[in-house]
Amino acid sequence: MTFKHSCALIALMAGLAPAAYAEDLNALIWCDHADPELLEPFETAHDVRVNVKEYEGTAAGLTLLEQSRPGDWDVMVIDAVDVGRAVERGLLAPLPEGTAPTSDYFPEVRLDDHVTIDGTTYAAVEKFGYNTVAYNKSAVDPADMTSLAALWSGKYDGRIAIYDYYLPVLGLVGLNAGVATADLDASAVESLRDPLMQLKAASKQVSDVVGSQTALATGEVDVLIGGGEWLTAVLNAENPDLDWTIPEEGGLLWAQSLAIVEGTEKPELAAEFIKYVTSPEGQARLATSSCYWGMPANKAAGDVLTEAQKDILRWDDQADYLTRAQLYPVPDADTDAGMQDLWTDMLQN
């Protein structure tokens, strides 16, 4: 190899190598935070590399934290309704005053009761949406989708997929049975066994986010219970017939929040990251993340999002949707175990 070739190779390798940053920020996240479009402005502005690790389900996230050493993780995305669980286990640090002002937030998703414990705020709500019914409007009658009962009517047997996450789907099955999510205790959960098994019998598959998107996009199924804008928005350009609605029985409101992990050695940088993500620009980028879309908690993001993006997010309908949606169930340990046992039985039978 000549000197010229060696130089060219080194230059090429330098170009391919990741950019060097002064420091790292380790984030335990959901997949929407892995989008380089979201992270890059923060990384450039603060000369920091954000290392992300995705996790699924609060129990798994909390176990990960408990098995890590203090300082391994700096920030964490967590279901807003589960912040209390994490604080109880001493896993989250208080947010410094003024980290995420909520004056511009949609009032319904500030969720102070969940993110502020004994007067101390531990997390900032950053994104929300709905677990409800997503469907292909060219294959089903949209009028049917205004009621959850349609899924048990027999008309759509074999054309339904169930989103593989027990909390929202059991919440929806409960709503159809007239049980509010806040009332889902151990005995109420057991009463959902029969309707859940009937739903499974009427369904073709139970699938995760990618599997559900693939099934809807390829026409494998026409209806997805547990789906919503977070699932269909990214497919909108490909297939505008994929739609979602909140039926008359209601839907479930999911709200994710961002928190500083207890024991971090970079609390200031972690707070800066939360400030960025909850800023109008960060919110707009997070709302339209390549993994899944969702409403920004901060209304000021509306000034950054395009009209087309706001249309897909149904920006103007939020006032109505928010009044009809209920929060995720927040089960205690025993109820949670009962829900997961029921879910395993449903999958296995």
Binding site: E56, G57, K204, T214, A333
Partner: protein, 284 residues
Amino acid sequence: MSIEAQEKRQGVALVTPALLWTLVFFAVPFGAMALMSLAHLEGREIVQGHDLGNYLRIFTDPSLRRGIFVSLEITATVTVISVLLAWPLAWIIATRVPVRWRRMVLLLAVLPFWTSYVVRSYSWALVLGEKGVVMNALVGLGLLAEPVQIMATRAATVTGFVHFFVMLLTLTIYSNLIQLSPNYARAAQDLGASQWQVIRLVILPLTLPGVMTGAFLTFVLCIGDYITPQILGGNNELTLPQLIMLQLGRRGDYPMASALSIVLMAIVTLAYAASARWLKMERV
């Protein structure tokens, strides 16, 4: 120092790195996992203990118990179908394909190994779907009046597995076949055996080590696989690895996940014990 003692010391020195490796990366983690399987979850806390409650639950809870049977049924089906398809393929490559083309044919045989498991499984999901290539062809040719469901069934999982393991088995059987001297077949033919008799009575028994080794590897890899049933099976039944992932990912129930993993290892150990008589790794 005698030559014998010197050789002994050399032998110990050569074996020590592998022994240490096994101790650090297998024996110690296995011990930790076995210990964890005796703990239990109380609320959301892991409580260390020494009871067999998790194991008892695996064999009494219908959903967990069924996981064992689902895994065994799928694995047995995949192994049998893969052997039945791979043996003739390996035999054709070893005896009917000209030597100069064999390398190319073997290369084609291992092509599926070059793609990731996830990509391969999602590709099968598109192929086997109701609007996929298979159904479009069958309906287009008039062989089916309307599409039938393959995707999100056990048949889809088995198809995805067989696609991969036929190639693995073909390689192990092929490498066994080409080591056989052609004189065995010639001698049998000289004694009046037909072509079919030569295959059935001479070649087939002699390739048993290759078949059993490939079948054992298929069994081990198949029963421990999570991705293929997760993507292709549509979560309509759960295998042992899927149940393990549920405990880890959803419940944070490390003790139950450990107990299920020990059961999985016990099944593999039993499979090894059952086939050890025929397993001759050095022959393949």
